[in-house]
């Protein structure tokens, strides 16, 4: 069993033993049920669909797509965000319940990518949303998206969820 799945391996190091354990247990549950919002905007949406498809099968990680922001934890911004779409994207992000994460999938979402020459594109989704993981590729392979999801899971596992307000 990999180290991060072990709930009590830091029993002796941490003085706040019980609290961290609850944190870890919670994080384990959270990390393995990351439901993502079906935010397919452009070319990357096909790869996003194929990631949920039979070969990459992202369900293995407990992730499945939701069409509504209210039920999702992760927003995969898959594609080019135009200026007309940006306010809608922001609203969808605001509708998601906390804690929420964002993957900028592909070059366009990272920094505008090949549409840097265009007049109607948001140059990078991090201008309007806080992005957790950047994923290069145009479009990234399903395996690359899987890797990004693992990065999100790692991030969730390292978070101290209950002590956030301190």
């Amino acid at each position: 069993m990999p180290a991060q799945y072990n709930l009590v391996n830091r029993l002796n190091e941490d003085s706040r033993m019980i609290l961290t354990t609850v944190d870890r247990a919670l994080n384990l549950a959270r990390a393995n049920s990351v439901w993502y919002l079906l935010m397919g905007l452009a070319c990357c949406s096909i790869e996003l669909m194929q990631t949920g498809g039979p070969r990459a099968d992202i369900d293995r990680f407990g992730s499945l797509f939701r069409a509504t922001p209210r039920q999702s934890d992760l927003m995969i911004v898959a594609g080019t965000v135009s200026l007309k779409m940006a306010p809608r994207l922001k609203r969808l992000y605001e509708q998601m319940a906390d804690p929420k994460y964002v993957i900028a999938m592909g070059s366009c979402a990272n920094c505008g990518g090949l549409f840097n020459l265009s007049y109607s594109i948001v140059k990078g989704v991090d201008k309007i949303l806080p992005v957790d993981v950047y994923l290069p590729g145009c479009p990234p392979r399903p395996e690359a998206l899987t890797e990004a999801l693992i990065k999100i899971q790692e991030k969730i596992k390292n978070e101290r969820y209950l002590r956030k307000k301190e």
């Binding site: 957790d132 590729g137 145009c138 395996e143």
Partner: protein, 159 residues
């Protein structure tokens, strides 16, 4: 009345038949060997790495062989979105490459720079994994200390 009853039973028969058909197809793929799913990243199969699941010509991250780069700046000029930055400097007698950065977050993996390179110094690797928490990590430097550029003529003689 009898008509309606006949229709009712026909519907039941139809439902059973179509469900059985669907289940047959599902069963066929369920029992299929090898399975369609590639269990990236944990179980890729015997001795396989992430590079083996992509095809030979896969256009992944750009890679530079700085020993044969002649510093002609063709790739930088041909890139439509300026995702390559090269600076050269004259140190002593020879021209040195001082900077060869590729912005992988912006790159569209079109291959124009690879096609235009006269010595095939810039090529595609099979690497596709590059997710990171900070976008600055995706700006990849290929030159860490000034390296002398290769001489095009010398290269030709070798070839």
């Amino acid at each position: 009345m009898t008509n309606a009853a006949a229709q009712y039973f026909r519907n039941i028969k139809d439902a059973v038949r179509t469900t059985a058909k669907g289940m047959k197809i599902t069963l066929k793929y369920w029992l299929r060997e090898p399975a369609i799913t590639i269990e990236y990243p944990d179980r890729l199969g015997e001795g396989r790495t992430a590079d083996d699941i992509v095809q030979d010509r896969f256009r992944g991250f750009l890679r530079l062989d700085s020993s044969i780069c002649i510093g002609c700046l063709q790739c930088m000029k041909t890139c439509p979105i300026d995702c390559i930055l090269i600076t050269t400097e004259k140190i002593g007698e020879e021209r040195h490459l001082t900077r060869f950065d590729v912005d992988q977050s912006k790159c569209m993996y079109c291959g124009l720079c690879v096609e235009v390179c006269p010595t095939s110094a810039i090529t595609f690797s099979k690497r596709f994994e590059g997710a990171c928490y900070d976008i600055r990590e995706l700006c990849i430097s290929h030159i860490h200390q000034p390296a002398p550029v290769a001489k095009p003529k010398a290269k030709e003689k070798e070839g």
